[in-house]
Symmetry: C2
């Protein structure tokens, strides 16, 4: 709900809301502004908890305490813990997508754009080495931390939340295809899903194979990119 509100005054998704609606909305604001502020305090508290304490997990109690608000308020704004997680996840996806888009727009070559996307997203998804809060490198950290639980428990909502990232990658893929550096005729949206999944949960693959991942592992990133590319690139040589 809060996220919808946010979306409403940031970019009207459905239709461009009449001035009347906007006026009415603004007149209801007195309460709304406070509410949004409160919601934000919960979100901030949760983010801080994830940043510190090295464990990405937190209890509702902790969030409530750190936010300086009450349990009652929490359940007034969130239907449950899962909604808080969902909100954080949406935020995370959104900011990650923005970050990647910025990183990419400077580049013209479609293939290089795709490579940058891949490598940078890979980097963002690597688990943080220690208790070091990583709030400075742009987007919200620990994107994949939530994903797992949401993906299984609330696939519908998780799916919605992923849209910005999936759409971006889909576009990048299509542009690369248009430029002839990527095979045409693929179902790019599904490919995007596969790629995002493979990168997000790359940490699992290391565990499965018994290897361990070093933070900022250039080699693994290159390996994954190589694997991906030669399954996609038009050029010969496998």
């Amino acid at each position: 709900m809060a996220s919808n509100d946010q979306a409403a005054d940031a970019s009207p998704a459905e239709r461009p809301a009449t001035w009347r609606e906007l006026a009415v909305a603004r007149s209801l604001d007195p309460a709304r502004v406070r509410a949004e502020k409160r919601v934000q305090r919960f979100l901030d508290a949760a983010l801080e908890l994830m940043a510190t304490s090295s464990s990405k997990e937190f209890t509702v109690q902790e969030v409530v305490e750190r936010s300086g608000q009450s349990l009652r308020s929490f359940y007034q704004y969130f239907a449950g813990k899962h909604e808080l997680l969902l909100a954080l996840f949406e935020e995370s996806v959104r900011s990650t997508a923005e970050h990647l888009e910025q990183l990419i727009e400077a580049e013209d070559d479609p293939l290089e754009r795709l490579r940058r996307f891949t490598v940078e997203y890979f980097r963002l998804c690597q688990p943080a080495p220690k208790g070091k809060p990583a709030s400075k490198d742009g987007p919200t950290p620990a994107l994949a931390e939530f994903a797992q639980q949401l993906l299984t428990d609330h696939p519908k909502e998780a799916s919605r939340a992923y849209v910005p990232l999936v759409s971006l990658l889909e576009r990048v893929l299509e542009q690369a295809a248009a430029a002839g550096v990527v095979r045409s005729g693929l179902r790019y949206r599904r490919i995007a899903g596969v790629v995002l999944q493979a990168i997000s949960f790359n940490a699992f693959s290391a565990t499965i194979s018994g290897s361990s991942v070093k933070p900022d592992d250039q080699e693994s990133a290159a390996e994954l990119w190589d694997l991906l590319l030669h399954g996609i690139a038009t050029g010969e040589r496998g």
Copy 2:
């Protein structure tokens, strides 16, 4: 521990145990046999619970009740619920690896072997459509169901449990490489991890991209195989 015992009399992995050791072991049996039987009852109960009830989750209480044993016994044989899950997971991986190995050994062409492995493992990892218990199609179902939690909470043990499957795929990859149908110089063990991860959690990629997976989805399997192959195959054309 129980699983080690099982492995010991099924196929001696380390070295072929002398008759003396076997005799000694058998002499200790009176208690041991009962213990193994009890452990097995817990395992069976858990499997039945996962097979029915459509939800792959169960509580320790349920397992205890269904097994007709006591809570006390449970904690006498398992250090906690996670050990039960681990035991089930090991079993699942082992039987899956066996199943795949059998499926493969009839085939001579290295590339076709790899393809069969991939497609069949893909099929096995697809979530069951409904409450239909799938115990008849060979290996234990729902392999990826546990994986997730174990991989994050107990990476060390999960890693160990994965060994049979990883080794098998690694071998298949190396043979394909030796035959010249797969690039040489790759780190096959890591590739195996990536591939297994990508297939196991393929359901996620469908959710991420917003698609839904039909059970026994030939097309998705083919798509994934195609993606994988053209990143690995020696032949030209991307």
